[in-house]
Symmetry: C2
Subunit: 222 residues, 2 copies
Amino acid sequence: MARSSLTREEVLSAAAALVRQHGPQTLTMRKLAAELGTAVTSIYWHVGNRESLLDALVERTVQEMGTLRPAGRAPAPRIVSVARALRRELRARPHLIAMVHERGLTERMFLPAQQALVHEVHAAGLRGARAAAAVRAVQIHTVGFLLVERNRERSPVQSPGEGDLWSTSTAGGDPALARALTRPADPDRLFHTSVRALVDGLLAGGGNEGPADPEPPDRNRG
Amino acid sequence: MARSSLTREEVLSAAAALVRQHGPQTLTMRKLAAELGTAVTSIYWHVGNRESLLDALVERTVQEMGTLRPAGRAPAPRIVSVARALRRELRARPHLIAMVHERGLTERMFLPAQQALVHEVHAAGLRGARAAAAVRAVQIHTVGFLLVERNRERSPVQSPGEGDLWSTSTAGGDPALARALTRPADPDRLFHTSVRALVDGLLAGGGNEGPADPEPPDRNRG
DNA sequence: ACCTGAACACCGTTCAAGT
DNA sequence: ACCTGAACACCGTTCAAGT
């Protein structure tokens, strides 16, 4: 009853299917073997072990991540559009976000987007270290937003008394603020406004000298 | 040789010690029992099962998170100082960040900081929904930054060829940009500048009407 | 009320043996 | 080169039995 020839690709895509449905924690080598109709140990021959199987899955999907095209005319909205596209792409692969995150590959996954961001930031007139910081800030805000957002989605209601906590008095006598903080945030809207504010701040912002704290010396000029 | 009386507190703090050192994945019920000098099953009587044991650990440390005091004079630097304090607190508990994140309790953990932020944003003149959005944006940027930062720390060198990728030509003929993106970012500095840019953008930014995309109707005015 | 050992149903992985 | 079953060393959890 043995299969004719098991390939590494077959193993990977079967594993990918299982992970896409229920996440990596439900993927056991034995279940995967059953799914494929082989002995558990055959899988080991093709992929080494469970850890490197998951690594391969992540690697594969990181590469699936295509290049992103900015939309809009001015640099600022174009940057915002890249961030939004990034978010859209990642939201389509919920389990993957966590896996890439766990493996510390977030940065690599963002290389295409980073290139687009570099181009736009450059068009906006930023150069050198300031341009690099702007690119990284947008990137990190987007990824961070996504991680937090996914976090929030998984746990609907947080603590008892969160409503009470934001009574009007706690919110500085601002009933609209109290109401807004009690209700769950609209993620699309929040993302858009926060990215726009960040980009505005980055493109408009002052020079390098921080007002409050010491800055490390720049020893790369010579 | 049995212990005189095992308490729930003893179980929790022994577990906390193990987790603090090597993370939750190394905590097994059997190891914990050995550490405590009891039978594995005794633990179950006190904490139910492994999952609720970890839940209790997270819960306990979430409550340890104290109130934060802003520093500085103007609203903007005070907000920035809250964000930085938040980051400092969390960086002191590396494994915990992940555990709180996994359990979707990030928001609850940030309630004290949120209150401080509300106060400052209010002092800066923001009201209602805009104030709420500003608070959330700063909060989400800080958490997000932290998650990404921790991610980066765990995986030192990313892909082969990341250096090549940022040759001067790819970076729009900007050698300083290319250099800056090749080198690892200075997280402290990046955090400071990004938060400051975000806060500046939020406090200065325009009204509610987004330029490019449709916004959901506000049906909470009447 | 609290503790115990035995047992169950799982894991990932190794290895010697097959073809 | 590829596949196999048996075995090892682990898991978390349940349960009947003790005091």
